[in-house]
Each structure stands twice: as C-alpha cells, then as structure tokens.
C-alpha cells in the first residue's frame, strides 16, 4: 500500500518542482529578455555554451585575427626575422610598397587581368544560371527534371586541377577531340583572346548548374496563383516568364549581383593557375597568382602583403558601395 503512495508523492513532488522551475524561467524571460540573473547564476547555467565556443573562437583568433597583425608588414621594410612592429617603416609615410606595386608592370597586368576576367564573369557568367533556372522551371516532367538537376550539379564537384587536365586534353590544338570533330586547328588555350573565352566558358560550365539552386529556391516561393492569374489574362509562356518569374527572383538576383560586385577585385587562385600556360601569361596572371609568385615563391613578403591588403580593402569598399546602392534602389541588400 505504501509503495504507490510514495511513488505518487515523488511524482507530484517532481512535477511540482518542474512547474516551479518552468514558472521561474518564464517569469524571468518575461521580466527581462536578457536573463536578469546575477553573473554567477548565469555562468552556472550557461558556462557550457562558452565552453563550446572556446575552440571556434580560438580558431578565429589564431588563424584569422593573428595574421592581421602581419598586415603591418605592408608598411614596413621587408624583414620577417623579427616581429613586424620592430621593423622600420618604409618611406613615403609607410606607403612605399603600394607605390612600388603600382609602378610594377607585373602588378598592373595582374590588376588589369583580374578586373577584366571578373567583369567578363559578371556580364557573361552571371545571367547564365538565371536562364538555366528559368529553363528548368519550365520543364514539365518532374522526374526528368530531377535527373537533369543531378547531372548539371556534377561539374561543381570537380576540382580545377581535374577540369584543367581534362580541358587541355579536349581543347588541344593538334590532337584535341574538339578540334578533330570540328576539323579545325583552333588554339583554344594558346592565344590570349581564346584563352579568356575558354576560361569564362569553363567557369560557366563548372558553376552554372550549381548556381541555379538559389534561383530555383526563389522560384518555388512564387505563388502559383500569380501564374494562374496571368494565364487567365491570356499570357503565354514568354509573358509569364517576363511578368511573373523574373520579378519573382529579382531580389535574389540583386543580392547575388552585390556579392559579385563586391568580388570584382577578388581573385580565385586555382582556376587561373591550373588553366594558365606560358603562351597566355599576359592574360592569365591575376592578383592571386602575382601574390603567390612574388610572395611565396619570390619571398617579397612586404610587397605582396601590400598587394593583398589593397585587394581586401577594395573588396570591402565595393561590397559596402554596391550594398548601399541596392538599398537606394529599394532592394533589401545583404544586411
């Protein structure tokens, strides 16, 4: 007779405790959204969260913020044997390396190439996934659509080393399969103009399918009633695309445009580096390759740090500019 009693008692006690705790919690939440406990109570309850953050924070401090102290190098003499703050400043108020960089022919070529290739990517490469997403959206057979998507995502998972080794085989001038099929001898990667075209084409080939994902997600958010209404109004496929689909993905397009504009001076390394060859160095050398060759191979650390800093700062400025521009035109922007 006693056992269930005790059991019952315990249970009520437990639940009473629980509800008391719940009441306490919710009362505190209501009174003060910032958890108005004393630091001691707060830490006792949530110290584990700080413990979890410990390693990631350590990572960011060591591998992301500590390198920023080396940015000083960009304003100092080239000497890495002592910490950068002990080295003397260079002349021209410390900006000598920047001035030297802008007088350097290699850097100017790299700067021009980076901007040119990025602009080509922006104007030719960016509309492609939008077109492809609209195409996929219009595809009427669901199962076929899924297979198409899987196949179109494939190139994204190949590395640039793989792609360049395949490309240089397929596009070879004398015995490449493409020239053989066309019956021509076009040096696809042998002249600067052709190389640029190949570079842009391969970028589209690799990422176009992958980049449709974002647009397709935005497309599913468009209410089907808009399409129905357009259909009732007698709109055909093209008019529906123009008046419903495109306006529906406009915010997404703007956000991606901002991101791309922000990266106008940013440069990938793998893509130009693996695709480049001696014949087209005038077109293929970008800032990232310049930094690698001068800095890591040539040990001109101060100069290449300055170049990298210039690149980072310009990236941030462009990002801020394009974001505020988007906001001016009434778009949401990225933050």
């Amino acid at each position: 007779m006693t056992a269930p009693d005790i059991h019952g008692n315990q249970e009520t006690e437990g639940s009473a405790l629980r509800s008391a705790k719940a009441a306490e919690l919710s009362a505190v939440r209501k009174k003060n959204p910032h958890m108005g406990f004393s630091w001691k109570t707060y830490l006792r309850r949530y110290w584990t969260l700080y413990l979890l953050l410990l390693l990631p924070i350590a990572f960011f401090i060591i591998f992301r913020y500590t390198p920023m102290t080396y940015i000083l190098l960009a304003f100092k003499k080239n000497n890495i044997l002592v910490p950068p703050w002990q080295v003397d400043w260079v002349k021209n108020n410390g900006f000598d390396w920047f001035i030297k960089a802008f007088k350097d022919r290699g850097f100017n070529t790299a700067l021009r190439n980076t901007i040119f290739l990025n602009l080509l990517d922006l104007f030719i490469g960016m509309p492609m996934p939008i077109l492809m997403a609209i195409l996929l959206n219009e595809l009427a057979f669901p199962k076929y659509k899924r297979i198409t998507q899987t196949v179109l995502y494939l190139p994204h998972f190949l590395s640039w080393v793989i792609i360049s080794s395949i490309t240089l085989r397929l596009f070879a001038t004398n015995d490449g399969i493409i020239n053989k099929l066309l019956g021509t001898q076009i040096p696809f990667v042998g002249t600067e103009g052709n190389w640029r075209a190949t570079y842009i084409f391969l970028g589209i080939w690799k990422e176009c399918g992958w980049n449709t994902i974002i647009y397709l997600a935005a497309l599913t958010a468009i209410s089907p009633e808009l399409y129905e209404a357009a259909e009732v109004d007698g709109a055909g496929r093209w008019r529906k695309i123009w008046h419903v689909t495109l306006p529906g993905i406009r915010p997404t397009i703007i956000v991606l445009l901002i991101m791309n504009l922000g990266h106008i001076l940013g440069s990938e390394f793998d893509r130009p580096f693996t695709l480049s060859n001696k014949l087209v160095e005038g077109a293929s050398k970008t800032i990232s390759i310049f930094v690698y060759e001068r800095g890591i191979m040539g040990q001109q650390y101060a100069l290449s740090t300055a170049v990298g800093l210039f690149q980072s700062v310009v990236c941030v400025i462009f990002l801020l500019l394009s974001n505020s521009l988007a906001k001016k035109f009434g778009e949401r922007g990225i933050w």
Partner: protein
C-alpha cells in the same frame, strides 16, 4: 464571410483543376526537354571521354580514335595506377597514386570530422539570442567573411608556428568556414523554441539539449555541410601547393597536388602542353586519365544521394548570408 471564403477557395480550386487538365504536353515542353538533354550531354561527355580514354589501349589514344567509347578495351592503366598485378613472390608495393589517395582519404575524414564538430560548436551557442557577449562573438566571426588578412600573412603565421611542411597546415588553417556556420545556425534557428524549453524544463542543460534535441533534428544539414567540407578538402589544391614545399613533405601531398605535378612534369614545356594537350605519350595518357577517374569517382558516387539535403543547405545559406 465563411461562405464567400469557401466560394473563393472553391473557385480557385476549380481553376487549378481546370489548369491541370488543360496542361497537356505541348511542343514547347518537348523543345525545353531537348535543350535540357543537350545541357546534360555537355556536362557528361567530358567525363565519359575521360573514362573511355582510361579504358582504351595506348595505341588508340595516340591515333586519337577514342570518343566516348573505349577502343582496344583494357584495364592496364588502372593496374598501373594501383600497382597490380603483384609480381610473384613479392609483396604488394603501393604506388604513389595509391599512397596519396589513401592519405587524402584519411585527411578528408579527419578534416571533415573536425570541421563539422567545430561548426556545430560555433553555431549552437549563437542560437541563444540572450547569450551575453553573443552579439560580439557573432560579429568577430562574420567580420572574417568580409575582410581577411590575405595569403601572405597567413603563410607567415604558419611559418612562425612551424606548421609549414606538416600535415597540420592542411588541417587547421581552413577548418571552419563562416558560410557553413551561418547555414548551421540558420538551421538551428528553425528548430522550434518549444522543444528546447520542454527539454530545459525537464532539467536538461544546454549540452544535453544540443545532443538530444538539436543534433537528431539537424542530420540533413550536418550531412550537407559534411559533404561541403569533404569536397573542399578532397579537391583542395592551393593550400598544399603553398604550404608543402620541401621534398620531405611530398609524402603529405594530397591527390590533387600530385595529379597537378604529374601532369605538369609529363610535358617538357608548357608551350608543348598548350599545343598538344598535356600528355606526351599514349601510355602516360591512359594512366593519367585513370588517375583523373580515381580522383573524381569518390565524390561522384556520394553527391547525388545528398542532393535533396544540399539544395536545402545552399538555399538557407543564400537567404541568410
């Protein structure tokens, strides 16, 4: 009120039904399907060509007879890459390809486990919106996405830490991607607060809530981010190129760097590479095609199964990023 609502509902439903009925396959649909088919071919043919080359005889390759079907079928290239068959009375000696592939696989597993753990550790506390200092921590994490010190400062740091030419240089410097932290955090935000509160009322601390509530619900996004990290490491090339420079460290070369160097060295000059394609003679060509296949196939086997998940992951990242 309710009647009109119902009427509206009915009429739109009727309309939709009518639309579905009127939706028969038109010529336009077939044209679109055709274009999609061509696009698929564009993505698949290069890979099929490589596969065919790797299975063809060296002779056929030199004569340039291979398109997407192997000519003079043989698997000699794969045998060479794998170091097979083992000569009688000798032990199996792994070739440099096999060694590098195995090392890259181990490296990929280690990096993925470490990265995904750290990403969870970074993302979960930030879902507590009332965490003291949370906003500041959030800021210092996000800031690194927009501004980075650059290649050389990172390189100098690693050199100061004596990490150059060690495998650690491939593991630690890029083990957390801010973008992935954002994706993870957004997914965590999507978990209903009521679940967390219920667990808290039962006396569970933050860690227990994470393990019992959040992680089981987040398996799709964990799978997605693991795929991203794994692909990133498997395909990673530039960090190895920059950080592993001495000949001692060649044993730590991941497969991509090995492949790059093999292909680069197989031609005497880069001019020749541009003229003739990368490969000097037929035997080399088939072997290199086989290596390319080896370096590609693991990823190609995995990603289609995770497609549903990574589509969600990318979408979350795009919305919140």
């Amino acid at each position: 009120m309710s009647v009109t609502n119902e009427n509206n509902h009915l009429s739109s439903k009727k309309l939709r039904d009518g639309m579905i009925k009127s939706k028969k396959t038109k010529a336009g649909d077939l044209i679109i399907a055709g274009i999609c088919f061509l696009l698929m071919l564009l993505c698949l043919l290069p890979m099929l060509h490589v596969l065919a080359c790797s299975l063809s005889s060296a002779d056929a390759l030199v004569k340039n007879e291979v398109f997407i079907w192997p000519k003079g079928w043989n698997t000699a290239a794969y045998d060479t890459v794998l170091g097979l068959p083992v000569p009688q009375g000798q032990d199996y000696v792994p070739t440099k390809y096999v060694t590098s592939m195995g090392w890259t696989a181990i490296l990929t597993v280690i990096c993925t486990l470490l990265s995904i753990t750290l990403t969870i550790c970074a993302a979960y506390p930030l879902t507590y919106t009332n965490l003291k200092g949370g906003r500041f921590i959030n800021f210092i994490i996000l800031f690194t996405m927009y501004f980075s010190a650059g290649t050389i400062p990172s390189y100098l740091l690693l050199s100061r830490m004596n990490m150059l030419n060690t495998p650690y240089a491939l593991i630690f410097p890029n083990c957390i991607s801010v973008f992935n932290v954002i994706i993870m955090r957004s997914f965590f935000f999507g978990v209903p607060d009521s679940l967390r509160e219920a667990a808290e009322i039962d006396g569970a601390g933050p860690i227990r809530v994470l393990i019992r509530v959040y992680l089981p619900l987040s398996l799709p996004v964990i799978a997605t981010l693991s795929l991203f990290y794994a692909v990133g490491r498997w395909n990673g090339f530039s960090d190895a190129l920059m950080y592993l420079k001495t000949s001692d460290s060649e044993k730590y070369w991941p497969i991509q760097l090995l492949l790059y160097n093999v292909i680069k060295n197989s031609t005497q000059t880069t001019e020749q590479a541009a003229q003739e394609g990368f490969f000097a003679n037929g035997v080399n060509k088939t072997i290199q095609m086989a290596t390319v296949m080896f370096a590609t196939v693991p990823i190609l086997l995995v990603y289609p199964w995770l497609q549903r998940y990574f589509v969600t992951g990318v979408t979350i990242g795009a919305v919140k990023g």
